[in-house]
């Protein structure tokens, strides 16, 4: 498959009164056409900021994209002018945000909001845009789509609003959909519905997806590949089966250990990861995870490991990943 999006050495920081917050620290990854990439990590690890940087939606100031290259269809999105990035946003790359209760404009009708990007990017007339909006709402499973175009966001439930957001995002048939925790604010049954809709639409439309989440359970059935992020670094990247079956980074291992499982022994306790993520203003030297890590050695506090190959299409940024693998093998046996 051809590469659709190729991000290299992306660094984003925020200049605040307390100091410089290093939100994203040299992230590199790529997404193939039609691929689903899961971006996993806890709050504040740079998942959303790295995606907002790709779209150039970081508020500047205080934000600043320090270095990096975002190649998309033969051009660097960080270098093109405002006009050109606007023609990409919503058209080639679309975004769905976390909270459907706040990501629709309360004073505009749903119809107006869906039509906005249709008129903008596809040059449709109001009539055409309206017709297409009805189709889009039907596509995401909103009943009586025609009658609901003139409703305001507050007349929709959370799940319905997220469907509307997805319809809006897909209105121009983008090649890439960035979904920033689109199910986090919804209850579990609605989550499942939204995931099913996205899966179906992906089959029908064939776009690539970057799905940001902190919930490994959500991503398991959805992603082809997973990037695990920590403190602004990608620390492990692998196909989804590898992440769950053969995690190599102690942090990934910790994440998996903190998820409850249906097939677990009843008395078994969840094992949390001790400690807190590092302060992004004064980052520790060495590996950002070292002071929470069970496998740390002296080297970990001195040098930050780069991503290295630990398996087929499987990279990990850890000095001791072989020990992790061995220890896991031992405990499994």
């Amino acid at each position: 498959m051809a590469t659709l999006l190729d991000v290299k050495d992306l660094r984003t920081e925020f200049h605040t009164q307390d100091g410089v917050v290093h939100a994203v620290n040299g992230v590199s990854f790529s997404v193939d056409e039609g691929e689903t990439l899961g971006l996993v990590g806890e709050s504040g690890c740079g998942k959303s900021v790295s995606m907002l940087s790709v779209m150039r939606l970081i508020p500047m100031p205080p934000g600043k994209i320090k270095t990096g290259q975002v190649m998309f269809q033969g051009r660097d999105l960080l270098k093109v002018d405002d006009e050109e990035i606007r023609s990409v946003r919503g058209n080639k790359i679309a975004m769905v945000f976390q909270d459907p209760m706040t990501s629709l404009n309360p004073v505009l009708t749903i119809g107006t909001q869906i039509a906005e990007s249709l008129e903008l990017h596809l040059g449709m007339t109001r009539e055409q845009a309206r017709k297409r909006s009805v189709e889009l709402l039907k596509m995401v499973g909103i009943p009586e789509a025609e009658g609901r175009l003139d409703d305001y966001p507050h007349q929709f439930s959370g799940g319905m609003r997220q469907r509307v957001m997805i319809a809006m995002a897909l209105s121009c048939s983008p090649q890439l959909l960035i979904a920033d925790e689109p199910t986090t604010a919804l209850d579990v049954t609605i989550q499942a519905q939204i995931i099913d809709i996205v899966k179906r639409l992906k089959r029908e439309l064939g776009m690539a997806i970057i799905w940001i989440t902190h919930d490994l359970g959500v991503i398991a059935g959805l992603a082809d590949r997973i990037n695990v992020m920590y403190a602004g670094f990608v620390i492990e990247t692998a196909p989804v089966k590898e992440i769950f079956g053969n995690p190599l980074h102690p942090y990934t291992l910790g994440l998996l250990g903190s998820i409850p499982r249906l097939d677990e022994h009843r008395k078994a306790k969840l094992t949390p990861i001790e400690g807190l993520p590092p302060d992004l203003i004064s980052m520790p030297t060495g590996c950002p995870f070292h002071d929470r890590c069970r496998y740390r050695t002296e080297k970990c506090s001195q040098e930050n490991p780069a991503l290295e190959l630990g398996g087929v299409r499987h990279s990990v940024a850890c000095w001791n990943w072989q020990d992790v693998q061995k220890a896991r093998g031992a405990s499994a046996a």
């Binding site: 606007r86 975004m95 990501s103």
Partner: protein, 320 residues
């Protein structure tokens, strides 16, 4: 019983479609008694201003020399002043002056304050700093002092300029007085509104739907006009309504001090000024000459601020 029971569904056939937001707003507004009274007085104020020529029994400058300085009577409902002019007619035309100034100053404030505030709030940085420091300078002068300064210094200059350019007739009609008053109040008033709009924009621009709109490639101008300002509209409306009473009063100050609208053009302020001296000498027979315009000021300022309060509550139902 049975028939009543079966009749129920038909009776309870209520309209499930929500009423339009404006209709809801109006309902909430008129249910609030002070706001409703305020609204009535404000409507009356503008209606009297529009139909001044129909409502007033005499022309505002017609003298009735048989009835000079008379208290209210059937012939002159609000009495007459020292020149025998009908006070009611003068007050009605004064309402027109006041409403005219209020509307135009509000328009000037809007045209300057909203765009400047929105630009400062949205773009931030040096632009923001520049606009807000200019606003701060205007704020640094106590109250109306700056307005007085502009009115007092600009008026003679404009009148001289008009006469020098063959516009002597225009200078005599008093239209230029209106221009000076509107200019003086408009140039000062925008600062408060700009600061306020800036704060609103700062709050709204971080909302997720604004980021969402930007993520669909909406151009900046449209983001501001379509996604940010409409969501900041409610408090701006409240602010404007409250401000209108203040503008009416400010025009009164200027005209009272003789640097606003000039007699014979009537304004509540200059009516008070013309008659104030006689009032003190012949109290209380001439009470009506000063008391009535003063009462009108009180009523209109209260009306605008009750209306503003009511709008504030109607636009933010969670306040109660």
């Amino acid at each position: 019983m049975a028939s009543a029971h079966t009749a129920l569904p038909r009776q309870s056939k209520i309209n499930l479609r929500a009423r339009s937001p404006w209709a809801q707003l109006f309902m909430r507004l008129v249910r609030n008694v002070p706001a409703f009274i305020g609204l009535l007085f404000v409507l009356a104020f503008f209606l009297v201003a529009i139909f001044a020529n129909v409502l007033s029994p005499y022309s505002y400058d017609k003298q009735d020399l048989d009835n000079v300085e008379k208290p209210p009577s059937a012939l002159h409902l609000a009495g007459t002043d020292t020149l025998g002019r009908d006070m009611l007619s003068r007050l009605i035309y004064g309402t027109r002056s006041s409403a005219f100034v209020v509307l135009l100053v509000t328009a000037v404030n809007l045209l300057l304050g909203v765009p400047l505030g929105a630009i400062a709030g949205y773009f931030g940085g040096a632009v923001d700093n520049f606009i807000m420091r200019v606003a701060d300078i205007l704020f640094a002068f106590p109250g109306l002092l700056f307005t007085f300064l502009i009115a007092a210094t600009v008026r003679p200059a404009i009148l001289d300029w008009a006469r020098a350019n063959g516009l002597g007739d225009l200078a005599r009609t008093g239209y230029l007085d209106y221009a000076v008053v509107i200019l003086a109040l408009g140039l000062i008033g925008w600062a408060g509104l700009a600061r306020f709009v800036r704060a609103q924009v700062l709050a709204v621009k971080e909302r997720e739907y604004v980021v969402s709109a930007r993520s669909t490639g909406v151009p900046t101008s449209k983001v501001i006009l379509r996604h940010i300002l409409p969501n900041a509209l409610a408090p701006i409306i409240v602010m404007l309504s409250m401000g209108m009473g203040f503008i009416a009063l400010s025009e009164g100050y200027l005209s009272f001090l003789g640097i606003g609208l000039q007699p014979p053009n009537p304004s509540w302020g200059n009516i008070m000024a013309e008659n104030a001296g006689r009032y003190w000498r012949r109290y209380p027979e001439m009470l009506w000459l000063v008391f009535i315009p003063g009462l009108l000021f009180t009523i209109i300022v209260l009306a605008f601020s009750f209306l503003g309060d009511g709008l504030n509550e109607a636009l933010n139902p969670e306040i109660d």
